[in-house]
């Protein structure tokens, strides 16, 4: 295993190569295809954002890559090559030298992810002693330095504190300090800021970005928030129903989205630069059941652009104009079929918005006090 450690730092080629990765859970209901044939590569020093709705398999994907899903009833297949070496299916005993040392993870909930019964100091020192055999004093000094790196004030004092004595943001910083302790080459951050306030989220995302650049570390940032990945990643992978449906460099993706799903997702987010009461585009229904995924394109039952073919045949990953941009759709954004439907979609949205305004007018007219047509006024904007 020591061979691997030098490999990860010195070998050339992509740090991570995932090929046709599948993670299936055998459950009473049947086989849950949580990750179903995902392929991508990640260069060292790059940040990849993985986005998708709840249940699309983001967490399972990152935990599978890291080799943390080994319980009974978990069926793994495909390949995960880390620094050129296959690591999928390695035993926990063999993975231990990679965990913490080469690959580290930050979890979503800083409240539940630290051991509540162990002092902060011990939790940071633990990986240092395990992997680097640091004597206790050195490890402590390193822990203090790490805590300063992640901007925790009064680091020395905090060594002796327990997690419940810290705020959510501070705990998340501690998690980052633990993850960075042994200088990993690959960091998984699973919704690292979802449980935090926006002002703290901004600080934590900046911190992760800064540490990534300083350490030339690769990052996989899992989130459901397209806003979070837009500013903090080099590439984005969009997941839907266990499949990777679109992947591209971040700027290319936002400038030239191909998947109707990605487009619809983006459109459903309220934007700050739109006036208030702008009608939101929606995606009807909900994500597919992973035990019985729909035949054909998995998004077809909810896709406003679906045609007969989509319900019959599943699209494969196509390469777009940009060679690193792939997507899975027969009628991508920009195709004549898409544009034709999109006219209808937009018209429909406008019609709905008008209907809401009309209803507001009606309600106002109906109300006995004709002097307060406020709802109607507001729905029309400020021009009445």
């Amino acid at each position: 295993m020591s061979g691997l450690q030098t490999d990860a730092r010195q070998s050339t080629g992509p740090l991570l190569e995932i090929t046709d990765l599948k993670t299936h859970f055998a459950t009473e209901r049947g086989l849950v295809r949580a990750v179903d044939g995902v392929t991508f590569t990640l260069e060292r020093g790059k940040a990849l954002g993985v986005v998708g709705e709840s249940g699309s398999g983001k967490t399972v994907l990152s935990r599978t890559i890291m080799g943390l899903l080994t319980a009974r009833g978990v069926e793994l297949s495909g390949s995960v090559r880390f620094a050129g070496q296959e690591i999928l299916g390695l035993k926990a005993k063999e993975m231990r030298h990679i965990w913490g040392r080469e690959m580290a993870m930050i979890f979503q909930d800083p409240m539940s992810s630290l051991n509540p019964l162990m002092k902060i100091g011990r939790q940071i020192v633990e990986p240092l002693q395990i992997h680097l055999d640091m004597p206790s004093d050195d490890a402590k000094a390193t822990a203090v330095r790490l805590m300063k790196d992640v901007r925790i004030p009064e680091a020395e004092r905090r060594l002796e504190q327990y997690p419940h004595e810290l705020s959510g943001g501070m705990r998340q910083r501690i998690m980052i300090a633990i993850a960075l302790a042994c200088g990993p080459t690959m960091l998984f951050a699973d919704e690292p800021t979802t449980a935090l306030d926006v002002t703290v989220q901004a600080q934590i995302l900046d911190l992760i970005g800064e540490q990534r650049r300083d350490r030339n570390m690769s990052v996989i940032l899992v989130t459901h928030d397209l806003g979070v990945v837009a500013g903090h990643t080099d590439e984005i992978a969009v997941m839907y129903g266990g499949r990777l449906v679109e992947k591209a460099p971040t700027k290319t993706l936002f400038a030239n989205m191909k998947m109707p799903y990605t487009k619809s997702l983006l459109r459903s987010i309220p934007k700050l630069d739109e006036p208030s009461h702008t009608r939101l585009a929606t995606i009807p229904g909900r994500p597919p059941d992973l035990v019985n995924p729909p035949k054909g394109c998995r998004f077809a039952p909810r896709c406003a652009y679906a045609r007969d073919r989509c319900h019959e045949e599943e699209p494969v990953l196509e390469v777009a104009e940009h060679p690193e941009h792939v997507y899975r759709c027969f009628y991508p954004v920009g195709s004549a079929e898409f544009e034709e439907r999109d006219e209808q979609v937009k018209a429909e949205l406008a019609r709905e918005a008008a209907a809401v305004r009309a209803a507001a007018d009606q309600a106002a007219a109906d109300s006995a006090h004709g002097d307060v047509p406020l709802a109607a006024q507001l729905m029309h904007g400020k021009d009445i």
């Binding site: 943390l68 580290a104 051991n115 162990m118 419940h164």
Partner: protein, 321 residues
Amino acid sequence: MRYVSQRLLQFFVVFIVVTFIVMVATRIGSADPVRDLAGGAVSDQQIARVLNDYPYLDQSLFLQYPQWLLDFVTGNLGYSYTQSQSGLAMFQQRLPPTLFMGFWAIVIGLAIAVPVGVYSAYKRDGAFDRGASYTSFAFISMPPLVIAVALLFLVVTRTSLFPTVGGSSYIAPWDSPWGHFRNFFIPSLALGLGLAAVWSRFLRADMNLTLQSDFIMLAKAKGVSPARVLWRHALRSSVLSLITSVALQVSALIGGAVVVEQFFGPRGIGDRLVFAIQQNDILIIQAITAVLVVGVVLANLIVDLLYAVVDPRIRHARKLG
């Protein structure tokens, strides 16, 4: 500390309620308590002696209770006229065997339950876990008497190491360690196996939950060895519920001790309690139950304090009062 005073108050309330109920029960169970105390069909002289020692015995229950309580807290633990022995002397003689037996039963119970529970949780649904599960269900459903009989035929009669039915007697460990072991091992094992079965199930269930929590996943992701994950990270947080189930079993332990003491010996408090009940020796019944209540409540109090030792969050919450 407001917390401690609150617990002590609870302690007294429980003590008073239970001992009062026991007193009422003994009086109801006997048509003529004074005569029963004196030993049944005995002379008026004997009865007069009882009344002279415990003049409150023919007063109303509500008047009796405070006087009994005063006696109890000032160290007058009653007197057995049939045995011609004071309650205090009886405890001096009979309490040590029961305490030792209970102690060893808990040690044996934990020594089996912790490794079995931890390993079952670690290899959940594996062959070991399933085996442990069947075995412990068997032991849980077996009354201590059945376990005692099984031990008698499987161990005692096949070796000549241990005294047989009713043969165990009290030997203090400092007098003869080997003698202590010979006399206490089988009775303690008879009690401890049942405890181990309950505790290992408890621990397995709790460890299963703990092992699924995020902080265990994080420990694993740090590269902490499985053994360390289990013993340092997971067991520690499951210890709380283990401590709770130990406390819960203290009363069951007393019930078991009654049976086992009678079956194998050494004759301790449990044995004495049964005898006192048979004889309607009401002052001794009251004294023993009162001491048992103190024991059970004390055990719970210790558990409560241990919570704070194990879990800093509880410590913190209690500081706030």
